[in-house]
């Protein structure tokens, strides 16, 4: 199911939880794992100096430095590496999101695993998040394969997935997310929760909804889920449908906690091309920041079709 996993890491403590999930998954599903680190940002045109991703310092980049960084990564993940040997370590310089996407494409990865610093946890401030808008933002939006984001300490991976929440906004991108959620649930024998949150924050509509309108919307959404997704789950019946009202990201997180689910699957669907504005703006990113389980972002069908 996950033949090739690309674990994109800053190799700083902010990625520790993501590392645990990446190694655990690779071991459990017998995947080839690439630990991928973009160590520095070459911001000076053709200059041979790079800005170290972890410290923000300018360093002179060469093979020795590269080897040293790889050695560091090996030490950081020494324990995990002992448990899982089918693993390659790669480090290079570049703009992080560009290189992560390039590597995923080149290696034909089935899954990218990434960490994300939460707001409270500011270690490694000069992490991927700060660079060129947001690495997370760009990777989740553009990646051809699903991207699994691990945001919080509690979001670790103990014994595989058992309950999966698929949060839909009924967009085309959400279609791919559904296929992924469904296939993972089916293959790994999980329960699938098909969930939609009707947005009643009023921000978008510019008006407050009457109670009967809300109830109408809930009914319509439920119907939509039944029509759009249920017929495609041939023979699979371990699912439930739920529609709540509220602010979507809050509801998804609440719902997930209530169902003790261990994976959320969503599309990172935004038309806002400016990473600055969209930074932490999308529902997905809010969910990533708050969820206590890994969040898979799936935008495209490519890697999902042959799962």
């Amino acid at each position: 199911m996950f033949k090739k996993i690309l674990f994109a890491t800053t190799a700083s403590p902010s990625c520790d939880h993501a590392a645990r999930v990446a190694f655990d998954m690779a071991k459990r599903y017998g995947s080839e794992l690439t630990v991928f680190h973009v160590l520095g940002i070459p911001s000076r045109g053709f200059s041979q100096f790079v800005k170290d991703v972890r410290t923000g310092e300018t360093v002179s980049y060469n093979d020795d430095y590269l080897e040293w960084v790889k050695e560091e990564i090996k030490n950081t993940y020494a324990k995990q590496l002992k448990m899982h040997e089918n693993c390659t370590i790669e480090a290079l310089t570049g703009i992080p999101h560009t290189e992560i996407l390039r590597a995923a494409r080149k290696e034909d990865a089935d899954l990218i695993v990434m960490g994300s610093t939460t707001r409270e946890e500011n270690e490694g401030t000069y992490t991927y998040r700060n660079i060129a808008g947001s690495t997370l933002q760009t990777v989740t939006k553009a990646a051809r394969c699903p991207v699994l984001v691990i945001g919080r300490p509690a979001a670790s991976f103990w014994g595989g997935f058992s309950d999966i929440v698929f949060g839909t906004d009924f967009s085309r991108a959400a279609d791919s997310a559904f296929m992924f959620a469904y296939k993972v649930a089916k293959t790994l024998g999980c329960k699938l929760h098909l969930f939609h949150a009707c947005d009643i924050s009023g921000v978008h509509a510019g008006k407050l909804l009457e109670q009967y309108e809300i109830e109408d919307n809930l009914r319509i959404a439920r119907e939509k889920i039944r029509k759009m997704y249920v017929p495609r789950m041939k023979g699979f019946d371990d699912y439930e449908i739920d529609v709540w009202e509220g602010i979507p990201y809050v509801e998804i997180v609440k719902y997930t906690r209530e169902r003790s689910a261990d994976l959320i699957v969503m599309a990172h669907h935004t038309r806002e091309p400016s990473p600055e504005k969209a930074l932490l703006g999308s529902t997905l990113e809010q969910v990533v920041l708050r969820a206590t389980c890994p969040v898979a972002s799936v935008n495209r069908p490519d890697k999902v079709i042959d799962l």
């Binding site: 070459p42 911001s43 000076r44 045109g45 053709f46 200059s47 041979q48 100096f49 002179s60 060469n62 093979d63 020795d64 430095y65 570049g94 703009i95 560009t98 996407l101 390039r102 494409r105 553009a142 051809r144 906004d169 009924f170 967009s171 085309r172 991108a173 959400a174 091309p273 400016s274 495209r300």
Partner: protein
């Protein structure tokens, strides 16, 4: 005649040589060896006699030491009017001496020349506009850099840069395969949002042959995608060449004239092979200068013109907006105060001053000129290769103060800079001086505001 392993008079023509240079952290060994490097005075004098043409000779002789060029140089004003930063002094004390002494100079002198040529002059050619005799230090220092290079006295990064051109025909180690792969990748990635988007490679007789700066495939591939989107929306019949796609020339900054010739001939070969109607260069200043202005002379083209009529990106944008190939959604025009960085390399070298103003009139509501501007604009501080050279970073940072103050005086919050070097320099400026500004190329700004024709829109969702 001791020559170092890394610092020597040899050209970097093999990957082994290049790797050895790259492995030398910060050029430590390179600069150590430079201190031992012998000057071949005879060879130097022969070169000078052969190459110092009457124009430069006359310039050296007729300088009246009137000092009128002093204020024109941003390095002079940024360094508290240090007399050692007066353009005429800078050139007379280096190239002038070299010629006077018929090449009989020592290692220390050559290093002083190198330091001056690369840390006190960005070859912005502004002083030439103010000298009553039209004496242009940008051109003179370019020539001096060439002499220095032939003797092995060139900054470490420059030696690497020319090596890249010689080996990869690009300023960075981007192979043909990398290039093609990046084009394919970008078309795939953006195709969903822009159905039918293609990056056509090696299409013959296209209306436009588009060429780039190697930094784009290497680090900023979205730049290629953005160009593709705009050509696509404008309905252009365009293509990129599989070989000869790289326009820049670090070799020009270094004064490695043989590599300049190799590099530009590679682009011209693509023109000959694909026979496009015209060529458009990406948003880069020195690339344009190297390929369109200087290139024909390096390649020995009698006409003084590239084989195919060639344009800077701003020219294409202005035309597309003027003719309505690209339509701006008026509600999406830039509202905040915005200013424009005139890139020396296509302002003073090609007179493209009106074009950007025309563009700004279409896209900005509150456009503010820097003072001075157009042909009189100051260098961003990062020209002439100064952005990339570690040894002179401090000097460059001081030089950037002039542009910083120019920008701040406009009150603009956004600087549009259709030049990779200027873009980099302004970014660095913001990092060093915390001015609270943003900076951008034209492409991403245009993409946000152009109307997508109905038939090119993605099909509706949900």
């Amino acid at each position: 005649m001791p020559e170092g392993i890394l610092c020597n008079k040899k050209m970097v023509d093999t990957k082994e040589q290049l790797d050895a240079l790259l492995a030398d952290a910060g050029g430590a060994q390179y600069y150590k060896e430079m201190k031992q490097l012998d000057v071949d005075s005879d060879a130097l004098w022969v070169t000078i006699q052969k190459s110092l043409k009457s124009r430069l000779k006359t310039w050296l002789e007729i300088c009246a030491h009137c000092g009128m060029c002093a204020e024109s140089c941003f390095y002079y004003t940024a360094n508290n009017r240090d007399p050692r930063q007066v353009p005429s002094y800078k050139i007379q004390s280096t190239l002038g001496e070299l010629v006077k002494r018929k090449g009989k100079v020592d290692n220390t002198f050559m290093q002083v020349c190198m330091d001056t040529a690369f840390s006190k002059c960005s070859c912005c050619t502004r002083c030439g506009v103010y000298c009553p005799f039209g004496i242009d230090m940008g051109v003179m220092f370019g020539y001096l850099r060439g002499l220095l290079f032939s003797q092995g006295f060139t900054p470490w990064e420059m030696k690497i840069g020319t090596g890249m051109h010689r080996i990869y025909k690009a300023q960075m180690d981007v192979t043909t395969e990398d290039w093609l792969d990046t084009c394919e990748w970008m078309a795939e990635e953006w195709e969903e949002e822009y159905p039918g988007l293609k990056i056509p490679v090696d299409k013959e007789n296209a209306d436009i042959l588009y060429t780039v700066n190697a930094r784009e495939p290497k680090h900023y591939p979205q730049d290629i995608a953005e160009a593709a989107v705009l050509f696509h929306l404008a309905g252009e019949n365009w293509t990129v060449p599989s070989e000869g796609w790289e326009e820049t020339s670090l070799a020009m900054f270094a004064g490695d004239w043989a590599a300049c010739k190799m590099q530009v001939e590679n682009v011209y070969a693509a023109m000959d092979r694909l026979k496009p109607k015209r060529m458009v260069v990406t948003e880069c200043g020195h690339a344009y200068r190297a390929t369109v202005i200087e290139g024909p002379y390096w390649a020995g083209l009698k006409s003084g013109q590239p084989p195919v009529e060639s344009f800077h990106y701003v020219e294409w944008v202005a035309e597309a907006l003027r003719t309505g190939k690209l339509k701006i959604d008026p509600s999406k025009k830039i509202k905040e105060p915005v200013t424009y960085q005139d890139s020396c390399n296509y302002i003073r070298n090609a007179g493209l001053a009106d074009i950007p103003r025309e563009i700004m009139s279409y896209i900005a509501e509150d456009f503010r000129e820097m003072t001075p501007n157009r042909e009189h604009n100051f260098c961003c501080g990062g020209g002439g290769g100064l952005n990339g050279i570690g040894r002179y970073r401090e000097a460059r940072n001081i030089g950037m103060k002039v542009k910083r103050d120019q920008i701040l005086a406009t009150g603009a919050k956004l600087v549009i800079a259709p030049c990779h070097n200027c873009w980099d320099a302004i970014r660095d400026m913001e990092e060093i001086y915390h001015m609270g500004i943003k900076w951008s190329f034209l492409k991403p700004i245009l993409i946000k505001m152009v109307e997508v024709p109905e038939h090119l829109k993605p099909r509706d969702e949900g």
